[in-house]
């Protein structure tokens, strides 16, 4: 289904385990990755929503920014409050280019002792690390962590399964984390984990040394709540949760205002804030923020089809008169909501909730309503 790649694919530390579990492997972000296991995408999606799913996301990039100036330096690259993020907390961020376009979206965590831990997208990691190194490498140490793998354990029973092996993780709340020891029964594995994820469910993302990743994965899969989940269900879960996929929903040609990611820009970095601006593209982005109508601009919105026809990426959106008003950037039949859902960009004049637009699917009009996201209520643990 996927185009063959020129260069040999990289593998994660769980490659042999994926094959043993019967996964269908596909090229993704330069890696051979499991798109689904024998139970299939739908079953995997539903299992994650009701129990717990284990995802191998080791293709993602992990790095550390270290030094007394690291937080201030990182703030020059993202329109986000880094300096005031408390120790032990995690935050979402956007790496911007000089035009305010989104180079990547990322998560960062304040580990204390002048150290930030950053997770970036797999397909962007080489470019991201080069960009960060070039821009702030003189102000702090930029330390890639290719020796580390990343697992996500997601779902309402993730905490039950993980706390059995790593007591204490149940005390974490959403977007916090720390160092823990996972006791597999035969071995103790040191990990760094956060209570976060990409499914809209409660869960954890676990950074573990590649030499111990398979041992950790097998210990988690041995828990009765846990099944392995592929990238296919990861995509349907994140779309139902209203979360952007970099490369589809956001990229270097989209900026945070039209991408409807203003929630990621804390007030301190906006006009009138104590550290207003000072990030790439700030002049443009702050001007757009000040222009409340943004006439002629576009906005990322959620869409639900009013007929049971899946509306996929790159489908043209029209008004009732056949004029092009936008395009779908991600779309599929949401297994939990059991309706075709999508996100896409529309002219701001069509972005109000409830506005009806028309998706042209193979030449046939499919009515869609602009809808609030997430499509499925999130289930984060906030204590």
């Amino acid at each position: 289904m996927s185009a063959p790649t020129e260069s040999p694919l990289l593998t994660t530390p769980l490659n042999a385990l994926h094959i043993e579990l019967g996964a269908r492997m596909v090229p993704f972000a330069g890696y051979s990755m499991p798109v689904q296991y024998p139970s299939g995408l739908m079953a995997e999606h539903h299992h994650t929503r009701k129990a717990a799913g284990l995802f191998d996301v080791s293709h993602m990039g992990q790095l550390r920014l270290v030094g007394p100036d690291a937080a201030a330096a990182f703030e020059t690259l993202i329109p986000v409050d880094v300096i005031d993020l408390p120790v032990g907390k995690q935050r979402y961020g956007l790496l911007l280019n000089d035009e305010g376009g989104i180079i990547d979206d990322l998560m960062f965590f304040n580990k204390g002792n002048n150290e930030l831990f950053v997770i970036v997208n797999g397909a962007c990691k080489v470019g991201d690390i080069a960009h960060i190194q070039a821009k702030i490498g003189s102000r702090c140490e930029v330390i890639p962590m290719p020796e580390m793998a990343l697992l996500a354990l997601q779902g309402p029973q993730a905490v039950t399964a993980l706390s059995r092996l790593a007591p204490g993780v149940e005390k974490l709340v959403f977007m916090t984390g720390g160092n823990f020891t996972v006791d597999t029964g035969t071995q103790k594995i040191d990990v760094f984990l956060t209570r976060s994820g990409y499914t809209g469910e409660d869960g954890f993302e676990i950074s573990v040394h590649s030499s111990q990743t398979e041992l950790l994965a097998r210990a988690l899969l041995a828990q009765p709540e846990v099944k392995p989940i592929g990238l296919g269900a990861r995509n349907s879960l994140r779309l139902e949760a209203g979360l952007c996929l970099y490369g589809n929903d956001i990229d270097e040609t989209t900026h945070p205002v039209e991408a409807n990611l203003l929630w990621a820009m804390q007030k301190v970095r906006r006009a009138g804030g104590a550290r207003e601006g000072g990030f790439p593209g700030a002049t443009k982005i702050l001007a757009e923020l000040a222009d409340s109508t943004r006439a002629g601009g576009r906005k990322r919105v959620g869409l639900i089809a009013l007929e049971r026809v899946p509306v996929r990426d790159h489908t043209e959106l029209q008004d009732g008169q056949g004029n092009r008003i936008g395009e779908v950037t991600s779309g599929l039949l949401g297994p939990t909501i059991d309706k075709p859902v999508a996100m896409g960009y529309v002219d701001v004049a069509f972005s109000a909730l409830g506005t009806q637009v028309v998706a042209m699917v193979r030449g046939k009009p499919v009515p869609m309503a602009v809808s609030a996201m997430p499509f499925v209520p999130t289930n984060y643990f906030r204590g």
Binding site: Q36, L41, M42, G232, S236, V309, P310, R312, L332, L333
Partner: protein, 123 residues
């Protein structure tokens, strides 16, 4: 009743001058959980290799090609209502449509079961 197969992983069960058409076990396995089918209009005539419909899983969409030239005489409304039949019973209850053959000699170019088994194993 003769069964023939196409390189597009469709099957035809031929009964006189009509054929029932569906997708193969290999096709449904490659697609994954089927969630939507778009079926042709009854009464419409297609040439061989025309796109007659669409089958979609959560992760992918695939065209359904007309395997032979002919007129659509019936479509499987049960499949439209429950697309998962294409997964659970691809060669039976998950059929797509029936076609009245315009040119039975087109069948000669299609694969028999032995040839298709070899073909799909290498697909």
């Amino acid at each position: 009743m003769t069964i023939k197969y196409t390189p597009d992983h469709e099957w035809l069960k031929i009964d006189g001058s009509t054929a029932v058409v569906g997708i193969t076990h290999h096709a449904q396995d490659a697609l994954g959980d089927v969630v939507f089918v778009d079926l042709p209009e009854v009464g419409k005539t297609f040439a061989a290799k025309d796109i007659a419909g669409v089958v979609e899983s959560v992760k992918a969409a695939a065209d359904v090609y007309m395997p032979v030239t002919g007129e659509i005489t019936e479509v499987n409304e049960a499949l439209r209502a429950d697309p998962s039949l294409a997964n659970s019973d691809p060669l039976g209850a998950g059929w797509f449509f029936k076609v009245k053959l315009s040119n039975a000699s087109e069948l000669d170019a299609l694969m028999d079961e032995t040839s298709y088994t070899t073909f799909s194993a290498n697909a």
